[in-house]
Symmetry: C2
Subunit: 340 residues, 2 copies
DNA sequence: CTGAAAGCGCTAACAG
DNA sequence: CTGTTAGCGCTTTCAG
């Protein structure tokens, strides 16, 4: 086993070389006022020459603080999450923080382990997008009980009061459906996500609201619940096509579902958007490149991460005791392309 | 500023409650043989009740080791890197390690800062994909001088001897061109990348080798150097189309270039693959979804990350002094779709 | 079986 | 201006 210690120069080493006390070196290196300029120069020079790097583990132990932020996401490789991570890293880096990245793999148990692990590492705060299967949020309550700042983004829970960054799903959905209505579509169906998830609920509400606003009656046959994947799109599409009258437009809970629909349309020679208009949600990079390019609601993934990081840093710096949890809703943007 | 310390239960707290010494609690909690079963149970019970979590900062300071791996990538949100990160995280998690993720933003200075930062945090090892603009690798030499295990992946440098994980670009290119030849194409052109980069050179060599093997003479007109973006594809395509005889197939240095070609084909009504076959490189998620789906050479991004993490862990565990640097070349996979 | 002591590297408080 | 001391939380001797 490697003994990292032997390879590192410490403040003691520098002090010994200089024939002074360690604390003097600390002060010199930190540019404290009550150390002579000469000492400072000597210390800096020797530190550089010896390749001294502060041991932040020791610093953290002594101060009781780290400059590390823990992040838990369900997946890393999905574009939405990697873009959010990118935003978090960017803000953290600029503020002198590093990020610990954990993936829950959409697994509740693993999310709990990740949380404990982060706590064990004394992180200054935690940013989370919860896994699909997390119903119990006890582990997050525990984080708060320990006074560790906590911010949720995108996948949030109503069961816990905390800072949150979400997208205005309802307004986004509503604008998508309104666009469909304005374009002349009359029979607009919705392929919804799992009914217990916030984003599904919100997008459904937006769909319903837009219909209502236009005076179009809600048709229960046109609402189909499913999951978040392509196959859910395929499946939903098949059920919809059996209906009479057939819907002439389809608002999907996300892009993969819309992709599934498009795939099936191609197979069955259903012309898009003439026979069926399709709208997605997320604006994954794929969907602007396919034929026809998908109309969809863009979520500002990078910005969500950046905002979450800023909120967390705020909480870390300005104390955690007296703040009032806030929910920031970012705006979506309707990307009108060729499927509507 | 939050005082994290006050919120945490320590081993001392447990010891006090139990009326024993801290060292006894440590031993009890770690299930050492020379502690009574009764003591162990009491300690475990109280630890749980008090919500004790080991302070890994203190543990690291005392042992001189961390269970943290540092990762530096040029970007987080690009699919290749996020997939690699996913692989790294997966392996690290299973082995009880956490990952510190840093983004260099393709910026040399930032990469240097990231490296120092990781070193300061006493990471057990570092995995890197270097930035486009890194010419000097002194900061990585420094890592090695400090006996910190170091593994490069994908973007590697010839200037430093270390463990590396790359893809067999040459064989990948060769297989793509061989496939074109087998499919009956005769006049195969190549849109190459910048001539000073390793991957460009290797892919070009693979192209030339496949031609030679089939006894097809190399035609200098059919080789065009460019960059890595869509516009380079558009530009290269235009030049190629002026040639007589026109090429009937085109091997592109990567997917975006191929995408540019496809775009232009659509515009000019060049039928793919009847009039022109097109092959890319990377297998970005986009290209399987476009119409027609692109034949391309898949790079195992996730696996590259996983392998890099395994190599690093190996180095961490089995000492770092006496090992011989190794370069692992992973196989690419030809994804035959509809453009050939 | 349990305890006391020492120390990882750093720094704040207090003395000199 | 510089030094001494003590302690962050944990663990590893070595004694009892």
């Amino acid at each position: 086993m490697l003994n990292a210690r032997t390879a590192h120069t410490t403040i003691k080493d520098i002090a010994k070389q200089l024939g002074v006390a360690p604390s003097t070196v600390t002060k010199a290196l930190k540019d404290y006022p009550d150390v002579s300029e000469g000492m400072k120069e000597k210390a800096r020079g020797l530190a550089k020459k010896m390749g001294y790097l502060p041991n932040s583990v020791a610093q953290s132990l002594q101060s009781g603080e780290t400059t590390t932020i823990g992040v838990i996401v369900p997946e890393i490789k999905h574009h939405f999450f990697s873009a959010a991570l990118d935003g978090i890293e960017e803000v953290a880096f600029k503020e002198g923080y590093s990020i610990f990245v954990c993936k829950s793999n959409e697994d509740y148990e693993r999310e709990v382990i990740n949380t404990r692990n982060l706590l064990s590492h004394f992180v200054a705060g935690i940013i989370v997008s919860i896994s699909q299967h997390t119903k119990d949020v006890g582990h997050f309550i525990d984080v708060q009980a320990r006074k560790i700042p906590l911010v949720f983004f995108d996948r949030v829970s109503d069961e816990i009061a905390a800072n949150k960054v979400v997208v205005d799903d309802r307004a986004g959905a509503s604008s998508a459906v309104a666009h469909l209505i304005e374009s002349g579509y009359k029979r607009i169906a919705h392929l919804a996500g799992p009914d217990y998830l916030n984003i599904s609920k919100e997008r459904l509400k937006g769909y319903a609201a837009a219909l209502k606003k236009a005076g179009i009656p809600f048709n229960a046959d046109y609402l189909i619940y499913g999951g978040f994947d392509e196959e859910d799109g395929v499946h939903g599409f098949k059920r919809l096509m059996k209906l009479r009258p057939r819907p002439d437009a389809l608002f999907c809970v996300n892009d993969p579902v819309a992709l599934g629909v498009l795939l099936e349309c191609k197979k069955r020679k259903v012309r898009v958007p003439e026979e069926l208009a399709v709208v997605g949600f997320s604006d994954n990079p794929v969907v602007s490149q396919i034929d026809p390019p998908l109309t969809t609601v863009a979520q500002p993934a990078y910005e969500m991460g950046a905002v979450a990081a800023k909120m967390l840093l705020q909480q870390i710096r300005h104390g955690n005791g007296d703040f009032v949890p806030e929910v920031i809703k970012l705006k979506t943007k309707l990307m009108i392309r060729k499927t509507t």
